[in-house]
Subunit: 665 residues, 2 copies
């Protein structure tokens, strides 16, 4: 016999429930207002018809809600539920034999075959009677009346009509029997974030470079004065590298030189000095109060502040004295510094997550997040999360989101695919990507199909950066201003979240430290910068336009809807994004060659865009302002690196024809 | 903090373990002597190197064995273990940080970079000392010597050499540290069957048609006399439709007519009369002793007997009187007969698996299997398993295989894909397939890719039947003798298990009951047959040849190795099967058109066959006896329906050239 807990008469199977990450170990991700579409295989032995419900509940009220699932063919069923609150939802499925539907559809076949149905009418009446026991009001009346008619031996015609009455069917469906129900054995999770988790536009800036006077160390207040400029470009997140005191032992000099000069400012990621550690503000940047003011100012400009969390310490960090047990000791008694042999980072002591005192370490690091949350921060960009244990992140993110479900975490992990995806699974809200190194049509298509059309999209939210202080890609080094335009267009239209490290980006800074290096020459990581934001080549207006397009077109605010279309020229990439209801459709065509004009034919998948090959449609280039009348799948384009490296086409479905005039009718 | 049971310092992740069916709910299947290749993603945060073991054990001794896994790139690891006994195995994985490997590879980089390593030598010595604590004998000596050298301040060169010594590495690997090990959370199952589960050739025959005198009801002993004939064609399983007493109430007449004539024999699947039920032998077939004799005779000819188990009863079955509670009652007090509205089967009462007395019903039905096992049966062909609950089959098959692990079950379910696959998951050893209705190159390619190259192959073993007493496919109805040849070639070379319903098949019987029907005219299901086995058109010799080819070529005895190759003619299908070591390679090319000669070019995937485009190879047609010298991927073929509808080419890799002569060297 099967387990005594299991009723062997449970004939329905519920299997292959999607979405489902690693057998339900991890939650999928959604933002408020989205819906979760769930599919499952639900079937039974024999010919009986089955029914199933999607069950879901929110962690706040736990009240289980039900949504009937619909068959979509081949024993697959689909259901859907909305996620209306930030926090955690769960879902599961129940399936059972639908006795009434089975009986009713058999009955209809018997009638059609002209068979004697007098016993079948009695069977139907019995089923309805069982349903009626749970019914109230008008429905109960209907059931009573129907039963009488089905049992009326003298008027079988009336019984037949009553049996197949659609009103009766709908009434019965309001009282699902759920006899011998099969519950799906797992409860699957959904982490629901606020909308910014899905749609965000980031600007990274070093506050110390914001001084209006060359050579003076900039402050948070100087940086606040830069906010109108940042906001005018349409960004909504301003991300600051670590703002903490910087160590002096083994401080790195300009261009990452081993020996710093006395006036070298050091790297913001070399955290900790006698002036404080991860919960202190670098005195030259200002005070904690200045930081809170900075957050308020940003808010006024529609900008949210993202803070960098880099869990590593210089030899001068307070932890090194107070918690020597959190660091690994070498046989000579010294503390193990960071290394990636043969590279040595003597200015950094990594925390030892294998230390016996790991409990206390975890607690302390969680406090760091809570401290900044206390100052008003709700977005954290986490530095190198892939060098700390996955269990640690899972615990810290779960714990913080339980208390502050609106907090978002961006994983800055540039590492191997499984590691990046695992970080997303354990909780990171957004992730950096390989976008920086995907340049060709094939590379971009393959990678973005993986990100947006595979299961990955359920838990990994890409945030696309054409540059970072660590990454000046070769494409930007050699391609000049048009390359910067191309890469921003790609980032901003392939990804619903993207960001730039500015003002290096909009000013098209592109000199590498040395040939073959992706480091910037005279990198801002090790020195103050003073820049002319009004330089004539600035992409400020261009970026502002792109970001306006993103803001006004909901199609560009999601990634699941990305579709690639064919072109006959390898330098031309074409893709579209559309809202689910197709009320907003954007087609993007980019010239990936920043040196030459490129022409070619695009071959649109009209079906995916809801377009009819027999009707012309107008496309409006939101970038170049051109308007084109297109018809059918194949359309010609020409793109020019300097002036028009891409089309961002808004599809206007209807082109007026004579049939639109009243007198035509 | 994470669960108190979990050590937060466990940094290794083990995920995405394959094979794995429905999150480990179901076992994969293998036969004795095969190996299980397991892959998993195993990785940790940071740069440390990981190691992992595949753990496996057999249900009999439970002794856990370990097999080290090897990295295959992109954080995937592969391991393998042999299954040497029939029964159940389990496997799981453990991963951990490999401290010595991490240290060693870093150390090598430091040496290469010319760095000072005096502290690193001490760290290495400490790691080796930890290993040495677990070591014995020669290894312990080696560790002691190495530690002394690594710690020798006066001779760092010796220490460096000792540290990187390969002998030391291999010794350390014999004592894996498994510190902070991450066990994969699931134990995954393997059902190991005897070889016949994978490679079997079936012949279905109605014993009652085996009488040498026309009109007399054949017996089991008559059928035994037919065994040499069956064996001569190379079959190894002889499958008998139900041999039980047949009901008389509502007995079906010839051609499934509603009213039987007094001398009509009825359908063997209408089981049960006052002469007995599922554990009785039809008196006209003989006795239980005759049946046991039949099994012995079959054994002498290398044939195993498969018995049909059809869990359904006629109104005359003893269960109907003794266990009315196992049948569904209608409101008029009658027992519900079988139906698939509007079709009615008044001669059959289905068992009610939703009856409150389901426990007793399950026990009784299990006894039926055990009864026939007691008579010596080890293979059951289960009729319509898809009309009984999955939980029931899972329980019955698990229970029987626990006691008799050599018993095999063939599921006769022609129904929707999820249902068929589920039956295989819950335990059926082999399954009927849609092969009967897959005729074109595209259909065959798509379906057999699904069966042999997707996860399905881990649990679903196809058994291919060109015909059954219920299925005379249109292709056979219209294509004449060449069609029968084509379909048997396909069944016998696409599938490592296949079967025919004979002698209808080898005699090319192909008249349907009516146009559009797949039922045979004057079907043997309802009447006795008398046939001339020596009729000149018989495919007896042809089938014997094909089955000989199957027996002599191990490549044809497995399905996982099926590969399709391109042809430029839609009527020509080409595929290959090869043993893992490529010692036996068979290429099959079939003309799917049974009316016309077809010519065309095949385009072989030489890599998959281990063939070199620069060397000629000989192919020997095991069917037509031709020998051809081929070179490169593209080769021409011509196939003729009547005489040579296919090539079954044995690849002989080496063609002698001048370099094979001694004097050439």
């Amino acid at each position: 016999m099967p387990d005594d807990q299991v009723d062997g008469r449970r004939r329905v199977v519920v299997e292959c429930v999607r979405p489902q990450i690693d057998c339900g170990e991890f939650a999928i991700k959604r933002v408020v207002g989205e819906s979760v579409v769930v599919e499952a295989s639900v079937f039974a032995d024999g010919h009986d018809q089955v029914a199933c419900h999607l069950l879901y509940w929110c962690e706040y009220d736990k009240a289980v809600q039900r949504s009937p699932m619909e068959p979509i063919g081949n024993d697959r069923w689909r259901g859907e539920f909305p996620v209306l609150r930030v926090g955690r939802y769960e879902y599961t499925i129940e399936g059972w034999i639908d006795r009434f539907q089975t009986w009713r559809s058999d009955f209809a076949k018997r009638i059609a075959a002209g068979q004697d149905v007098h016993v079948d009418l009695l069977i139907g009446a019995q089923i309805i009677q069982d349903v009626a026991a749970r019914a109230i009001g008008k429905d109960a009346d209907l059931f009573r009346r129907s039963i009488v008619r089905l049992r009326d031996k003298d008027d079988q015609e009336s019984g037949k009509n009553a049996a197949l009455d659609l009103e009766l069917l709908h009434a019965v469906q309001r009282y699902p029997e759920r006899h011998l129900v099969t519950p799906y054995e797992k409860r699957l999770g959904v982490v629901v974030d606020r909308e910014k988790a899905r749609f965000s536009t980031w600007y990274e800036i070093f506050p110390r470079s914001c001084s209006p006077e060359p050579g003076r160390h900039g402050t948070l207040l100087d940086c606040a004065a830069r906010l109108p400029y940042i906001a005018s470009m349409g960004f909504d997140v301003v991300y600051l590298p670590p703002i903490h005191p910087i160590g002096h032992t083994f401080r790195k000099g300009r261009n990452n030189s081993i020996s710093a000069q006395p006036d070298d400012v050091g790297s913001p990621w070399a955290i900790g000095s006698e002036q404080g550690g991860h919960t202190s503000v670098h005195p030259k940047l200002g005070t904690l109060e200045d930081f809170r003011k900075f957050i308020s100012s940003a808010k006024e400009y529609g900008l949210e502040v993202a803070l960098d969390i880099a869990f590593q310490c210089t030899p001068d960090h307070p932890y090194v004295k107070q918690h020597r047990e959190w660091f690994r000791k070498r046989p000579d008694g010294t503390i193990q510094f960071a290394e990636n042999p043969p590279k040595l980072y003597q200015d950094i002591f990594p925390l030892d997550f294998e230390a016996p005192e790991w409990h206390a370490l975890w607690m302390e690091l969680k406090e760091v997040f809570l401290f900044w949350i206390g100052q008003g921060v709700r977005i954290f960009r986490v530095d190198n999360p892939h060098t700390k244990p996955f269990l640690f992140w899972q615990w810290i993110i779960d714990g913080i989101k339980e208390q502050y479900p609106d907090v978002l975490f961006l994983a800055e992990a540039f590492t191997r695919p499984h590691v990046m995806y695992r970080l997303a699974k354990v909780g990171f809200s957004q992730s950096y990507t390989y976008f920086s190194w995907r340049n060709t049509k094939q590379e971009l298509t393959d990678y973005f199909r993986e990100l947006t059309q595979s299961e990955v999209r359920e838990y990994f939210r890409p945030n696309l950066w054409p540059n970072t202080p660590d990454i000046l890609p070769e494409f930007l080094q050699v391609g000049g201003r048009p390359a910067f335009m191309v890469r921003y267009i790609l980032a901003a239209t392939l990804g619903s979240s993207c960001g730039i490290y500015g003002p290096a980006f909009e000013l098209c800074e592109n000199t590498p430290y040395e040939p073959g290096s992706e480091e910037y020459l005279n990198s801002e990581k090790y020195e103050l910068k003073h820049r002319d934001l009004d330089s004539p080549g600035s992409l400020r207006d261009f970026i502002a336009r792109i970001n306006r397009i993103r803001k006004h077109n909901p199609a560009l605010q999601s990634d699941r809807n990305l579709r690639f279309h064919k072109t006959d020229n390898p330098s031309l990439i074409c893709y579209s994004k559309a809202t689910d209801d197709l009320s907003n459709i954007i087609i993007v065509i980019v010239n990936l060659d920043s040196f030459h004009n490129q022409t070619g034919w695009v071959d649109l998948d009209l079906d995916s865009l809801g377009l009819d090959a027999t009707h012309a449609f107008q496309v409006h280039d939101l970038l170049g302002e051109g308007r084109y009348l297109w018809q059918g799948a194949r359309n010609f384009v020409e793109l020019i690196p300097e002036s028009l490296p891409a089309h961002i086409l808004h599809v206007r479905r209807w082109v007026r024809t004579e049939t639109d005039f009243d007198y035509y009718l």
